[in-house]
Symmetry: C2
Subunit: 573 residues, 2 copies
């Protein structure tokens, strides 16, 4: 079987060595993940503004497709919090929640995301995701977590409220506060408190009672299911639905239906930008989970193939009643911890969820929406981590500015503008730093062949020789700066005979910069000063030789700065 085909279909690789032991591990992981995913899928559908069954559908076919095309052994694909929030934000501009148009727009969004991811994968554009810096991602995820938690408060209070950002959400909540349903509040608050306790306090408690680590672990993971069962039974027996507690209600008993996105150019056009953002954010979240897990088992992830896996998963979601999906952190970690060894575990999870969609949906009729909101709130608060503000402040003001802008704009305006601002600002700040490169005047460290900044070290210099070490590649954005710097430096120095540009940190000289250097060379020639270069890197020199610059240079090109120093000080001294 050709390696090329195996690269595109990773299933051919791991499928060949599949055996009984792997099967039993994968099956075990699938059971645990399925139990965890049932409430989570319903909850994220709610967050995305879709009917609960959409959450199940979005977890079935996408998982199967990722199992065929994805490279991560443990990644679990499906609806995740941040992408669901972004989906709701994008669809809110297109249609009203609960309408047919809204559901079709969700399918279209998934389809577009899928096509974008697939295209990025085929053309190996995965590197584009690198333009989301770590601080921007951290700020975005934290702010999104806050918005998601705030968006669920209405379900805890049993009121209606809407808004894409923190401010509009809080205003809307405040206006509707009068309609609070106190029975719902009791359910919602106790479910939230219970889930927090399960997450923080249950494991130590069980261990102190002598339970094994394994039992404590399983009990912790079963927490959300317990909350679901307890509150559903309470609503059913006590007839709380008649007291205004909103419940999930009837969910169709069906396998994922065959659905069609809206292929009209109009709809595609208005969803394109959100689809790009969802694709990139989803990819970044997914790849970072996949890489973290792969590193633990010394496996490698192929980012471009990951794009193909996620792309097909989203296209699958679009045709089977789902919405945009990606690899989720919580579910993947559970899958990994539960011992999943191959993507087959995902396939078994899909089967489990299909059974749930077919047979178990009547059981969630009385499930209160407040319980689902509680599971979301507890899950997303683990995403919220403001420490990045402190860390970036201490390290670099540019990184801090990018984090802060991302957070503030996300909270104040919404996810789409938030992440866009973060990316643009971090690129701009990076470019800005390169427009004013650090230029050091250097001299010889006595007794060595090293040259260091004359302002930081005790060094030898010569009054007829000026050596400038330029700590940046030269390109259009900083070409003028260097020219101005040199002219300013020469203005008050009459003794100079030679100027050396030490190029050890210059990794590129583009055409604009070359033209600036030509101008400097001509200007210095008029002033009777020779221009030399030293320590020019191989690739830079190769390129300079393609133009007349080296021929026109008034001075010489020295392999090392030490050689330049010796030649030019002996010559003049």
């Amino acid at each position: 079987m050709p390696q090329r085909l195996r690269n595109y279909l990773p299933i051919l690789d791991w499928g060949r060595s599949y055996n009984k032991a792997t099967l039993s591990n994968d099956l075990m992981a699938a059971v645990i993940v399925t139990i965890m995913l049932i409430p989570q899928s319903l909850a994220y559908a709610l967050l995305a503004g879709l009917p609960p069954e959409a959450g199940l559908y979005a977890s079935i076919v996408p998982i199967l497709l990722y199992a065929v095309f994805g490279t991560s052994r443990a990644l679990a694909v499906g609806p995740v919090a941040v992408v669901s929030l972004m989906t709701a934000a994008a669809l809110g501009n297109i249609a009203d929640q609960g309408t047919m148009g809204y559901a079709v727009a969700a399918l279209t969004l998934a389809f577009l995301s899928g096509v974008i991811l697939l295209t990025m994968g085929v053309f190996k554009l995965g590197f584009l995701a690198n333009f989301l810096s770590h601080p921007v991602i951290a700020g975005f995820i934290t702010a999104s977590g806050v918005i998601i938690a705030a968006s669920q408060i209405k379900h805890i209070l049993g009121i209606s409220a809407s808004g894409d950002n923190l401010i509009s959400l809080l205003v809307s909540l405040w206006q509707n506060l009068g309609n609070t349903n106190w029975v719902t509040v009791i359910i919602g608050v106790s479910a939230t408190a219970f889930l927090f306790w399960v997450r923080r306090g249950l494991k130590p408690f069980l261990k102190s009672k002598g339970a094994s680590a394994r039992v404590a672990d399983v009990a912790t993971k079963a927490g959300p299911v317990a909350a679901v069962v307890l509150t559903t039974v309470a609503v059913w027996i006590l007839g709380l639905a008649d007291m205004g507690v909103r419940i999930v209600g009837s969910v169709p008993q069906s396998l994922p239906p065959l659905t069609l996105p809206d292929f009209s150019l109009d709809m595609m056009g208005s969803l394109l930008l959100p689809a790009i953002l969802i694709s990139v954010i989803g990819f970044v979240e997914s790849i970072s989970v996949a890489q973290t897990l792969a590193a633990k088992r010394r496996q490698r992830i192929n980012p471009d193939q990951e794009l193909i896996g996620l792309g097909t998963a989203n296209i699958g979601a679009a045709f089977t009643g789902g919405f945009p999906v990606t690899g989720g952190f919580a579910r993947s970690v559970v899958n990994f911890d539960a011992g999943a060894e191959t993507p087959a575990a995902g396939a078994f999870t899909a089967v489990g969820l299909a059974i749930a969609a077919l047979a178990l949906t009547p059981l969630v009729f009385f499930l209160p929406q407040a319980t689902l909101a509680a599971t979301i709130i507890v899950a997303v608060l683990t995403l919220v981590d403001f420490s990045i503000l402190k860390k970036s402040w201490a390290y670099s003001k540019a990184d801090f500015a990018a984090v802060l802008a991302t957070m503030l704009v996300t909270l104040g305006d919404g996810v789409e503008l938030g992440v866009t601002c973060g990316v643009i600002l971090s690129i701009f700040l990076h470019l800005y730093k390169t427009t004013r490169p650090h230029i050091a005047e250097v001299g010889l460290v006595p007794g060595t062949e090293h040259f260091r900044n004359i302002h930081r070290h005790k060094v030898e210099t010569d009054p007829t020789l000026l050596t400038l070490r330029i700590d940046e590649s030269l390109y259009f954005a900083n070409a003028h700066f260097l020219e101005d710097y040199i002219y300013d430096r020469l203005a008050d120095d009459k003794k100079l005979k030679n100027v050396v540009l030490m190029c050890s940190a210059i990794n590129e000289i583009d055409l604009s910069a070359l033209e600036s250097l030509e101008a400097v060379n001509a200007r210095l020639r008029d002033m009777g000063i020779q221009l030399h270069l030293s320590e020019v890197k191989g690739p830079v020199m190769d390129r300079l030789k393609k133009q007349h610059f080296i021929d026109d240079l008034t001075g010489r090109v020295f392999l090392s700065q030490h050689e330049a120093y010796r030649a030019l000080t002996t010559q003049t001294g």
Copy 2:
């Protein structure tokens, strides 16, 4: 008088040393420039789609304001070809040519450009113009020149045609070709041929006839005026206007009128983007002319003060019946060559043009539009220079791609998208190059303290020691690349004990890159390999010390790579 005030009002500087000699030089230059500017101003107004007098008005008050606030001694401010074309493109979306709304939109565009330039000047944002690389500017100017020339063909043929880009212009010309006015064609073609001959052939011809260089020079500059006089007289005497030759017609005899831009948010909003582009392009054109001329006399230009000068000039244009202006190449060179010594020459030119606007406009009644079109065509064809394609191709494919995209999009879609694409593409290509940095494995050049690429030089290495020189700053866009590179390199090397990252070309390590280095450090620790750094720059080291990275580093930080090599090879060898 405080220096600060003099910085903001350069007139206070040169005004103090003004004397008779300077006055006579400035007056002489003003006369020559005024004669040249009268037809040119009318022609550029035509190009911008405005009545001819607007060209004169746009040259009077703006010149005076620039004389007060500008820093260049020779720059002549007024309508220029590329900015006039951009004005027409921007206004074409707002109103029809010839309407009142069109003229008001032109004032608004000038006002917005003025405010943008002034703001950039006050906040010292002139460096933003550096993001227009030389190749992008060259490509843009060439493509604009082609479009401008094409846009004037209709006047030469005496037909109507419109279009923002080359394709729509040519299609429109083709469709209207049947209406060609042959008398107009005779005037237009002979004027064009005459002007070309004046520009190329007159000077050598006069010199061969024994004329002095000075006389030949003046005769060449008077060419356009001669064409104007000859064709105007021909149209008048032969009554050609009755044969369908379009003439300038009656131009009001007036000083620049007081006018008001449209301050509605709606109008401002729709002109904001074009105004930004016009400001930046105008500034780049102006500053490069100013710097070229200043360099010839060893004067310096202050870019931020230039922004203030151009900003006030445009605001002046907005309130006196003009349209966007900037420093023009041709007129400035003429001004400089004619001996202008201070901005007072500009002020005298303004007086000359004011007299023309008051007294001479009846004389241009019979001036054929074809003659103005001929002056534009001959002037802009000097801007057209496709050699940048060849030059950039030879030097760097990235620069070539930026030039080509700028040209094609400008020709195919228009100036606004053209220049935007050029800027975005050149920034993207620059960033792209930095996402895959050059990483060289280096070894010791025997008998020296220098380390060079093992693939380019004969060097000493040690099997337990891997030294990687990273030829790029580390930041979010390439942090993952380095991580992947190191993991891939280590995968097939079991003997390694030490990895040194040689940081001589690393000018920055941002927070994302720091987190990647932390990950590399942890991963190598698990593999039993120590990670060291060498030749870390001062500013980078200062920053690294703010975090735990240096404490957590499994290895050491060496001042020089040679030190690292000695320590790590002795230790293990």
